[in-house]
Amino acid sequence: MGIIKAIIGGIGTTLRKPRLLIILYVVNAVFALVAALPFLVIVQGELGHSLLGSFVQPLDLMWIGEAVLEHQGSLAALLAGLAAAALVYLVLHVFLNGGIVGRLLDREGRATLPAFTADCGRYFWRFVRLFLVALVFYVLTLGVFMSLVSALFKPMTESAVTEWLPLILSNLHFLIALLLLSIVHMVVDYARIAVVADEERKILKALRHALTFLRKRFFRAWAIYLLIVALTVAGTVVFYAVLGIFGTPGVPQVAAGLVLMQIYVLFRIWVRTVFVAAQAEFYRAHPY
């Protein structure tokens, strides 16, 4: 199967299952709303009655600086709360992954909430084990391999004559890290698909399926991955360009900006499902 066909197939699958997107969007939005509540209390308390609330800009340094200073005592708690919320969301997403992959691989089935949650429950513990194994790979990639790359670059950086070489090496280091992470991420994606598609209960076996699959068609699989990353980047650029139009304060602009931001979140969620769907299409076209 060609990579374009896989991506088009993935897009088609996600468009046929809009409820899946709605479920994921609602979970994301509700969770974010809860995490944002403490900040809302602060902003409302600070600006709810102040005229500053009429003209303060989202990145108004004058106000943000003041607010941070005034609430510096609780800032650590707020950020810790946000980090804890992110961790809980991570676990929640491990749960949701079962529903995402399960519903996307079930070509004929509908993405109803009961079917989705059933898949979530069915694959949860397998995906938890896979996540833990993936963590090891992420740590190895970032911690060990990238340290080796750093050690390789260090003598060149230290003896540089101008700032160009350290700049180039630093960017190269970052690029290598990104590419390596993308490969690990992709392997984990395919292992997750293998768990569902092959009804594999053993995680290491699922990983082996993924690796065997990728060994034969690594570059095509990676190209699918990178093309979808490119799609995300392109969408993000368009989003920020359009958002800039709504920069001036005013009720219609605020409302339009709010809607646009939510459309972008939905876009990101859609791209993520396209990711999985395209990889699933590609995997299914080449059975293990």
Binding site: A35, S50, L51, L61, W63, V161
Partner: protein, 700 residues
């Protein structure tokens, strides 16, 4: 009649006192052409590029300007700060909790200066008396950055002493402001330099501290710099003659500069030297001269600027940014010159700091270091900001040469304030300089643009509880408190004072202060004296309350209500001989009145003084406004207004005079609340959290 005359005299007197005084013209006691009255240096220095050493000879002629008989001399040996970890500098660097200006050098990379010989011109050997001293107390016992030498006999008032010193210095590797990297050298604070003798007090000669800069007397310098052939040299002063020695493969250039208090130089074989002229008549229009003269109350001829030779030493990889450097320097020469006084030297040398020499963003008389990167965004005012700032130090430190050890705010604060003013008028607001992996973020995202006074203010309000602005440099809580106080808080206070006193008083204050203390060592008291003199009122409270104390300034609106009140209370009233009964119905039919109650609070400890008042602006729903003032002495006050219209909002300090106020959100209050931007901010925050969660989830 007598009373009238007295009244008229009093009014005239008051008017004279209150009317802004013109900036005082022609108060410079000295100029570079006149030369320094009491100190002369001639230095011969050779750079051993391979051994990273300086070999130097120095002749110092010091004339005792005081009525004291001076038995000794204290010399700064700054590079001994990098000799070992027992120096005050490195001890303080290790103890620093926030911003360390220099880590300990690596093994083999220490720097130091050894005085190998010191004698009088008549040959008397002073070396036996040379000893390290710790003027800043026993806690820096191992410090060797100050040495004392005893004279055979005290130097009498008006008498001169002629010293001949030989020294050998090891150039440190990339530590605060000086150092080498490969074949690049930046040489600052490098030669044995006397402290400043203060009558009745002795030598003012502090150790080199982590959070401090320098203090020295004005002098005439002649410096002969010898470097390996092929090295490009940039230096304080004006090059006069160059001599090539084929046998030793060296080049020696002589630089001369009168009336400066320090001398720095750099050498790098890769560097490019570019020269341009600041042509005053091209940069400043006749109208700008006229407007400036009118504002300052001076004759036009007194604000005219001279031409200045601008020399840029720049790394080849930054060559494309040369014009950016020159444009910023032209703006700095123009506006500092117009506002504070003409630049008095013939040359200014701008050095793009050699890679990894740790020398960027530093000022020396007639020479300063800038700092840029190969990927520099045009929207971020860098290197412009650093160029304007470091050139500006030529005024605040270079000319009005305050003691940077004991009153760093007098140069850093004044110069941070002045930098913001120049950037605002020459460039407008600039983007914040965020970058990722060397790439300016504003190439990809729209970063909000800000003026310096806005960013300064955020730092200013963050730091008030730690230290007074006027603390001695090395006695601040940490590097963060030092920086935020002496740079940003001091600048914010000056901006506040500017808004408080307005034009033309403020520009005249700055001009007079600078010109009166040019080539001198002004103190806080000198500045307060000028402020009070020109403003025509006693502003000492401002400095006591906001610079010397650690009190937060925060006035705010605690409450606003506007409620309907009956014009009359029920019952029977005798009015103009008739008896009228006010019934509920009658009251309801009569004109509606509203009682608007405003509660103001002084949340902070700091208190305004003198004739300063907090302005209170109440807006009503029919568009009318009422203004009141509050003397701000009590912790709170309540204002009541009865009007036939409901209030809409109240705002204190509507013109934004009190920039130092640390909470602007509580400066206003609307009756109905203003939620539009709360929604906007929260939608942004919600979006950010949604994206963050999505990102986190994608790694599951």
């Amino acid at each position: 009649m007598k009373n009238r005359i007295i009244g008229a005299c009093l009014m005239l007197g008051a008017a004279l006192v209150l009317l802004p005084v013109p900036a005082t013209p022609g108060q410079t006691a000295a100029s570079p052409s006149a030369g320094a009255p009491g100190l002369r240096y001639e230095i011969w220095v050779e750079l051993d590029a391979a051994g990273k050493m300086l070999l130097g000879k120095e002749e110092i002629v010091w004339t005792n300007p005081t009525k004291d008989a001076v038995p000794d001399m204290l010399l700064h040996l700054y590079w001994n700060a990098f000799k070992n970890e027992d120096s005050a500098f490195l001890r303080e660097a290790r103890a620093e909790t926030l911003f360390s200006r220099g880590d300990s050098p690596e093994d083999g990379e220490w720097g130091w200066v050894d005085v190998t010989d010191i004698r009088l011109a008549d040959g008397s050997d002073l070396k036996p008396s040379l000893a390290f001293v710790t003027p800043d107390g026993p806690e820096t016992e191992g410090d060797q950055t100050v040495a004392r030498v005893l004279f055979p006999a005290p130097v009498q008032p008006g008498e001169s002493v002629h010293l001949r010193i030989e020294f050998r210095s090891k150039v440190p590797r990339t530590v605060a402001r000086s150092g080498y990297y490969r074949n690049s050298f930046f040489i600052g604070q490098w030669f044995p330099k006397p402290g400043v003798y203060e009558e009745g007090k002795g030598w003012n000669c502090h150790a080199y501290h982590q959070n401090s800069e320098f203090f020295a007397d004005f002098a005439d310098f002649v410096v002969h710099i010898t470097v390996p052939r092929g090295f490009v040299v940039g230096s304080s002063g004006k090059p006069s003659e160059t001599r090539v020695d084929e046998s030793s493969g060296t080049t020696t250039t002589t630089y001369r500069q009168a009336m400066v208090h320090d001398f720095a130089w750099m050498a790098d074989p890769r560097y490019l030297k570019v020269e341009q002229e600041f042509v005053a008549d091209r940069e400043v229009t006749p109208k700008e001269y006229e407007d400036t003269a009118a504002l300052l109350g001076l004759p036009v001829d007194e604000v005219r600027l001279p031409n200045v030779k601008m020399i840029l030493l720049i790394a080849p990889e930054h060559k494309g940014q040369s014009e950016r450097h020159f444009r910023a320097l032209r703006a700095a020469i123009k506006y500092y010159g117009l506002w504070y006084g003409p630049y008095p030297y013939e040359t200014v040398t701008m050095v793009d700091p050699p890679f990894r020499t740790g020398s960027g963003g530093m000022e020396y008389p007639t020479l300063f270091t800038a700092g840029t990167s190969v990927l520099a965004s045009r929207n971020v005012l860098s290197p412009e900001g650093v160029i304007v700032h470091e050139f500006g130090h030529g005024y605040w430190y270079g000319l009005a040469a305050s003691n940077e050890f004991e009153a760093a705010w007098l140069d850093e604060g004044f110069n941070t304030y002045s930098t913001g003013q120049v950037l605002a008028v020459a460039y407008g607001a600039g983007s914040l300089g965020f970058s990722f992996k060397g790439w300016p973020i504003d190439w990809f995202l729209r970063i909000p643009k800000t003026f310096d006074f806005e960013t300064n203010r955020v730092a200013a309000i963050a730091t008030v509880e730690f230290d007074p602005v006027t603390a001695w440099s090395w006695k601040f809580y940490n590097g963060g408190s030092y920086g935020a106080n002496v740079y940003m808080r001091a600048a914010t206070l000056l901006s506040t004072l500017e808004r408080l006193l307005g034009e033309p008083a403020w520009p005249r204050i700055m001009r007079t202060y600078h010109m009166r203390y040019r080539f001198r060592h002004p103190t806080k008291a000198d500045f307060i004296g000028v402020v009070n003199e020109i403003a025509g009122k006693d502003m000492t409270w401002f400095f006591d309350e906001l610079l010397d104390a650690t009190r937060a300034f925060d006035y705010g609106v605690a409450g606003l209500s506007s409620i309907k009140v009956p014009r009359h209370l029920r019952g029977v009233y005798d009015t103009d001989g008739t008896r009228v009964e006010w019934t509920d119905k009658k009251i309801e039919e009569s004109e509606t009145l509203y009682r608007t109650t405003v509660v103001l609070r002084r949340y902070g400890e700091a208190c305004i003084g003198g004739d300063a008042r907090i302005k209170v602006l109440v807006r009503f729903k029919d568009g009318t406004t009422e203004t009141r003032t509050w003397d701000g002495q009590a912790r709170w006050t309540r204002l009541e207004l009865i009007k036939p219209v409901e209030a809409e909002s109240v705002q204190i300090d509507p013109e934004g005079v009190w920039l130092i106020d640390e909470n602007l959100a509580n400066n206003s209050r609307g009756v109905d609340g203003t939620r539009r931007n709360v929604v906007k901010l929260m939608s942004q925050l919600l979006f950010t959290i949604q994206c963050l969660l999505h990102f986190v989830g994608s790694w599951s």
